[in-house]
């Protein structure tokens, strides 16, 4: 755009200079008195003046054909680009139209897939929750069994301790010196058997 404006300004400037160059001798001829110009010297200067004007005009308009040619090419390029852009836009518009035509089906498809995925995820979570619940139940049952076993063991130990304490108290009452003496001699008498057993074990 800026380049085009600059070219236009240049063209106007050149045209203005050419106009003044053409118009200046005519105006000067009308204003002058017919004396020197009609002489041979005046004729010579007039030709020199003409040659100078021609040279200057040639110099000024030397680049004009190439400029107009370039300008025409630029315009044709821009027209081609515009056509291409229009074609692309048309193509995009057609695609968008085609998409719009199938968008309902696409939305329905996506909705259906989302429903299926949701159902699958729900099922997976249900299975996982069930599995974890079973695992927790098993762990709880094992813990209950262990606690029960420990409690039973503790109870047995307590019962045994109480029974022994009771037996010990009774024995303290029952173990009279006579009984002890009898027990001692029985033990002495059984030494042979005990030592025989020990030797057999060794």
């Amino acid at each position: 755009m800026i380049q085009s404006t600059r070219n236009l300004v240049n063209s106007i400037a050149r045209f203005t200079v050419a106009f003044f160059l053409f118009a200046a001798p005519v105006l000067a001829q009308e204003a002058a008195k017919p004396k020197l110009e009609d002489s041979p010297t005046g004729q010579v200067f007039r030709w020199i003046n003409f040659v100078l004007v021609v040279v200057i005009l040639l110099y000024l308009f030397k680049g004009a054909p190439s400029y107009f040619r370039g300008h025409a090419e630029e315009i044709s390029q821009k027209i081609a680009e515009g056509a291409r852009a229009r074609e692309a836009a048309e193509q995009r518009r057609a695609e968008a139209k085609a998409k719009l035509a199938t968008i309902d089906a696409e939305v329905a498809k996506i909705r259906e897939e989302a429903k299926k995925a949701l159902a699958l995820e729900t099922e997976r979570i249900k299975v996982q929750a069930k599995s974890e619940a079973e695992m927790i139940e098993r762990a709880a049952q094992a813990e209950i069994a262990a606690t029960e076993h420990a409690a039973r063991l503790e109870l047995r130990i307590l019962a045994a301790k109480m029974a022994i304490e009771r037996a010990e108290a009774l024995l303290k009452q029952e173990l009279q010196p006579k009984v002890e003496t009898d027990r001692f001699f029985n033990f002495v008498a059984s030494m042979a058997v005990l030592m025989g057993k020990q030797q057999a074990k060794n």
Binding site: L153, R156, I157, A159, A160, K161, A163, I164, A167, E168, L171, K172, L175, P177, V179, E180, T181, R183, F184, F185, F187, V188, A189, S190, M191, A192, L194, M195, Q198
Partner: protein, 179 residues
Amino acid sequence: MNGAVSSRYAAALVDVALEQKNADRVKSDLAAFAEAFAHSSDLRTTLESPAVSREAKLQVIQKLGAVMELAQAVRNFLCVLVDHRRTELLFEIQDHFRTELNARQNIVEAVVTSARPLSADERNRLIKKLEDETHKTIEMQFHEDASLLGGTVVRLGSTVYDSSVRAQLDRMREQLESE
């Protein structure tokens, strides 16, 4: 290693004691010196310290031997230990000596623990029974332990014969707990 060394020293002392026919005295004197050695840190320091000269150590043994009236065999043996710097093995040697002497004299040591004091008759009958069964002389020590409640525990060498009420109750408790 130390066990073998101690055993050799003990065997040598047993040889001397039996040869001089005063094994019992050597045994009791060695035990008395070992007790003094165990209870007196000064004596241990003196006899084990490398800073104390050999002569000084021997003098200490001779003086202590005279005061305690130790048998000459024991004094000589202690001097040998000092010469060979083996005084730290005294307790091990004493144990080996007792074992070796008992073995050579056909003696078995027995420890009897009872809930009540045993009468002389009970003691004698027990000793006789054990001697009959082992065919050895029984050297017996008696102890009392009321926690046994009743009955007797006899330790013969490394074997224990336990007829105490406490042991029977313990066995009963273990059985009740395991059922």
